[in-house]
Amino acid sequence: MLLKSSFIAVTALAAVMALTSAPAKAAGDPDKDAPLAQLGKVPIPADNPQTPEKIELGKKLFFDPRIGGDASTGCVQCHEPAQGWAFGDALSRGYPGTVHWRNSQSIINSAYLGKLFWAGAAKSLEKQAPSAAKGAVAGNGENDVMEARLAFIPEYRKAFRQVFGDEWPKIGNAWRAIASFERTLIQNDTPVDKYLGGDKKALNASQVRGMKLFNGKANCIECHNGPLASDQKYYNLGVPPAERWLEDGLAQITFRYEQYAKGVTQEMYRKIKDDAGLYYRTKQKRDMGKFRTPPLRYTKYTAPYMHNGAFWDFEEVVQFYNAGGGSNDFTDGTMAKNKTKILKPLGLSDDEVADLVAFLEAFSGPEIKMEKPKLPPYAPLPDVANAN
C-alpha cells in the first residue's frame, strides 16, 4: 500500500515537472534534465588536497614515460596536449606493438567526472591513472618496476618526501599527484559559460539558435545536460563498430584480447564483434553497447568522436542524431536490442544542423597548450653500508 501510494505520488510529481520544466521533453523522456550551466568550482577530494608542490610533481609524472612498461608510454602519449589532451585517431595509439580499442578521451575538465573511462570503470582520477598505466594495450606497467624507477630519480625522491612524507616514492602517491595535476586542467570560460553568465554577446545568432535546438527540437539536453553537458549515464545510440576491426589485424588482436581480459563467457568471446561497453562491468545483457555520455566541453579539439572515434567532425555527429542514431549488434537483435528510446529522427534542416554545429563549437574556449616539462634524470643511489 505504502509503496503503491508513493509510486503514484512520484508519478504525479513527474507529470507536474514535465509541465513546468523549460525544455520540451521528447516521448519516453525518463527524467528531468539539469539545464546547461556554468562550470563550477573543481571538486577536490578531501583525502587528496591540492598543493602547488603536488601539482608540479604530478605534472612531471604525467609527462614521464617511465611510468609505464618499457619506459616509452606515459599518460601523455595517449593524452597529448596538442591533440586536445586526447589522441587524434579513432582508436587510441596504445602500447608499442598494439593499438588500443577505444577513442582516447580528453583530460580537460576530467576533474568533474565521477565516471572515468567510456564504461565508467573508474570513479576517480586517482583510480583511472593506474588502470591506464597498467593495461596491456595502454601503459603495460607493473607497480614494482614503476615504483622502483621513481626511487632512482633524485628529484622525485625529494618531491615525494616533501609532498607525501614518503621515505621512498610510493606508486600509489604517484597516481594522487597525477590526479592533482589533472584537476588543474580546467576550462570554464567558454562562450557557453560566458553566455550563461549573462554575456549575451558571447554566442552569435547561429549559436543561439543552435542552443535552442539543443534544448528543444534536437533534445541533446536529454543526456548532454548540466555543467559538463553530460548526465554521466549509459546509453546505446547504435554507434557503428570501429571500421578498423574489419581490416586491421592488430586491431582484431586487441579486440579479442579485451573480450578475454574482461572475462566474458567462452560463447560470448567466440561470437562478439563489437564493443559491449557497460556490459563488461555488469555482465547484464541490458547493458550491451552502452557507454557513458561524454561531456561536450573542449570537443573542438578532440575529434574524432564517440567511444570508437566513428565520426570525424561535429557535422557527422549531428547528422547521426538527425537520423535518429544508428544501429549495431546491440541494437539490431544480433546480440541485444538496447538502443535508447530517446533517439528519434529529428527532421533538422541543413540550417538547423549548421546552427547546432556552431553551438557545439561554443563549448570550447582557446586551446590549452602546455610545453612538455624537463624530466629529471635517473642517478645511482648513494652507497650505503651493506645493511641486511
Partner: protein
C-alpha cells in the same frame, strides 16, 4: 651404511625413471654422501642423455622462442638473451632486459635446461619449464607480456594457427605456448664433446683427475651436467655495475620487492637463493645454483653475475679458496694449492665438456617473421 645408500639411490632412480626432477635428486644424493676422491668416471658423468620430444610441438616451440611478438612491446624474443651461437647465452656479464629495464644477472645457458631440477640462478622455480616459461614471458623486466594478449597475437598469425593445429594443440592458446616452448627446450641437449667421445687430451685427462680429486670440483659439479642442482655460496664478488647503473638497480629493486626481500632499498647485494628459502638467519644469502659446466666454451663470462671473464679466472678463483663472504661461504671451499700445470690441466678438462654448437636449422628458427598481422577476412562472420 655406505654400501646401503647406493642401493637406496638405485631404487629411487628406478621409481623416478623418466622424471627430470628424479635425475636432479639422484645427482644431489650422490654428492651428499660420496667423497670426491672416490667418484670414478663412470659414476654418473656424461653423456647427457637425449630426451624424447614431440617433433611438431618442438618445431612450434622453436618458432615461438625466436619470435619477438612474445614480448609486451614486441621488441625482444627469448633468443634476444639466449642466442644459439653463444650457447644460448648473450656473451654479456649481466644480461639485457626488457626495454626500460636492465638485467642484474648473467644469462644462463639453455642447453640441457630441460634436465634441471630448479631454474634461475637463485633456483626460485623448482617445478617445471612450463612455469619457467611463464615467468620469463610475464615478468615485467624480462618480456613483460600479458599472456592473454600473447594468445591473441598467436591466433592472428596463420602460420601459428596451422602449427598449433598440426601439433595437436587445437587453436593457439597461452597454455599451449607454455607447453610448446618447453618441448623445444628438450631438444637442446649437449652432444659431441671430447669428454663424451672419450677423446680427452693428456692434459684434460689429468684435469679430470684433479676435478674429481685434489680440486674437489665434483663435490658440487656432479652428474652428467656437472651440477648438483643445489645452491651454494662460493663468495663471488658483487658486480658493481648493478649498483652503478640506476636502471639495472631499479630492475633489481623491482625483483627484490616482488620476491619479498627485506630492506630492498638499502641492500647492495644480490641475495640469491634467499628469495626461495627465506631463512630467518640469512644463511642462504649469497647462495646460487651450481651451474652446468657443459658448453662453457660458448658461455663466457662466468658466474651468476658474470664477474669472471675466463676459465683461467674461474680456476684461479677456486684455487684461492673462493671469494670473500666469511659468514655464509661454503666451508667446503679451501685454497687448493694447484700448480700452474694443474690449473692448465683443469682448464683443458673444462674445455673438453663443450660439444657441437646447436646452431643448425634443427635448433634455430631461420624463417622470417611477418612485420604485420594479416587481417582475418570476413571478420564479422568468423568465430573469434
Amino acid at each position: 651404511m655406505i654400501k646401503k645408500i647406493p642401493n637406496k639411490i638405485l631404487r629411487l632412480q628406478k621409481s623416478l625413471a623418466g622424471s627430470l626432477i628424479g635425475a636432479g635428486i639422484v645427482a644431489a644424493g650422490l654428492t651428499a654422501i660420496t667423497a670426491p676422491a672416490v667418484i670414478a668416471a663412470e659414476d654418473g658423468f656424461g653423456p647427457v642423455k637425449p630426451l624424447e620430444f614431440n617433433a611438431k610441438k618442438a618445431e612450434l616451440g622453436k618458432r615461438l622462442f625466436f619470435d619477438a611478438r612474445l614480448s609486451g612491446d614486441a621488441a625482444i624474443s627469448c633468443a634476444s638473451c639466449h642466442q644459439p651461437n653463444k650457447g644460448f647465452t648473450d656473451g654479456l656479464a649481466l644480461s639485457k632486459a626488457y626495454p626500460g629495464s636492465n638485467g642484474f644477472r648473467n644469462t644462463p645457458t639453455l642447453i640441457n635446461t630441460a634436465k634441471k631440477a630448479a631454474w634461475f640462478h637463485d633456483g626460485r622455480l623448482g617445478t617445471n619449464l612450463n612455469d619457467v616459461t611463464r615467468e620469463s614471458l610475464t615478468e615485467d623486466y624480462s618480456m613483460n607480456m600479458d599472456m592473454r594478449l600473447m594468445q591473441e597475437r598467436a591466433k592472428q598469425d596463420p602460420v601459428y594457427v596451422k602449427m598449433f593445429k598440426d601439433a595437436g594443440y587445437g587453436e593457439p592458446s597461452n597454455g599451449a605456448i607454455r607447453k610448446a616452448i618447453p618441448e623445444y627446450l628438450k631438444t637442446l641437449i649437449s652432444k659431441g664433446s671430447d669428454f663424451d667421445n672419450g677423446k680427452l687430451s693428456k692434459s684434460a685427462a689429468r684435469g679430470f683427475d684433479l676435478f674429481k680429486g685434489k680440486a674437489g670440483c665434483a663435490q658440487c659439479h656432479s652428474g652428467p651436467r656437472f651440477s648438483d642442482d643445489k645452491p651454494h655460496n662460493i663468495g663471488v664478488p658483487e658486480n658493481p655495475e648493478i649498483w652503478k647503473d640506476p636502471v639495472r638497480h631499479t630492475t633489481y629493486v623491482a625483483f627484490a620487492m616482488f620476491m619479498g626481500v627485506e630492506n630492498y632499498m638499502n641492500i647492495r647485494r644480490d641475495v640469491g637463493a634467499q628469495v626461495r628459502t627465506h631463512k630467518a638467519d640469512g644463511s642462504d644469502i649469497g647462495k646460487f645454483m651450481t651451474p652446468t659446466l657443459r658448453e662453457l666454451k660458448y658461455t663466457a663470462p662466468y658466474m651468476h653475475n658474470g664477474m669472471l671473464k675466463t676459465l683461467d679466472d674461474v680456476v684461479e678463483f677456486y684455487n684461492q679458496g673462493g671469494g670473500d663472504d666469511p659468514e655464509n661461504r661454503d666451508p667446503a671451499l679451501k685454497p687448493l694449492g694447484l700448480t700452474e700445470v694443474e690449473k692448465a690441466d683443469l682448464v683443458a678438462f673444462l674445455k673438453s665438456l663443450s660439444g657441437q654448437p646447436l646452431t643448425s636449422e634443427a635448433y634455430v628458427w631461420k624463417g622470417k617473421f611477418p612485420s604485420e598481422y594479416p587481417a582475418i577476412k570476413d571478420w564479422r562472420n568468423v568465430r573469434n
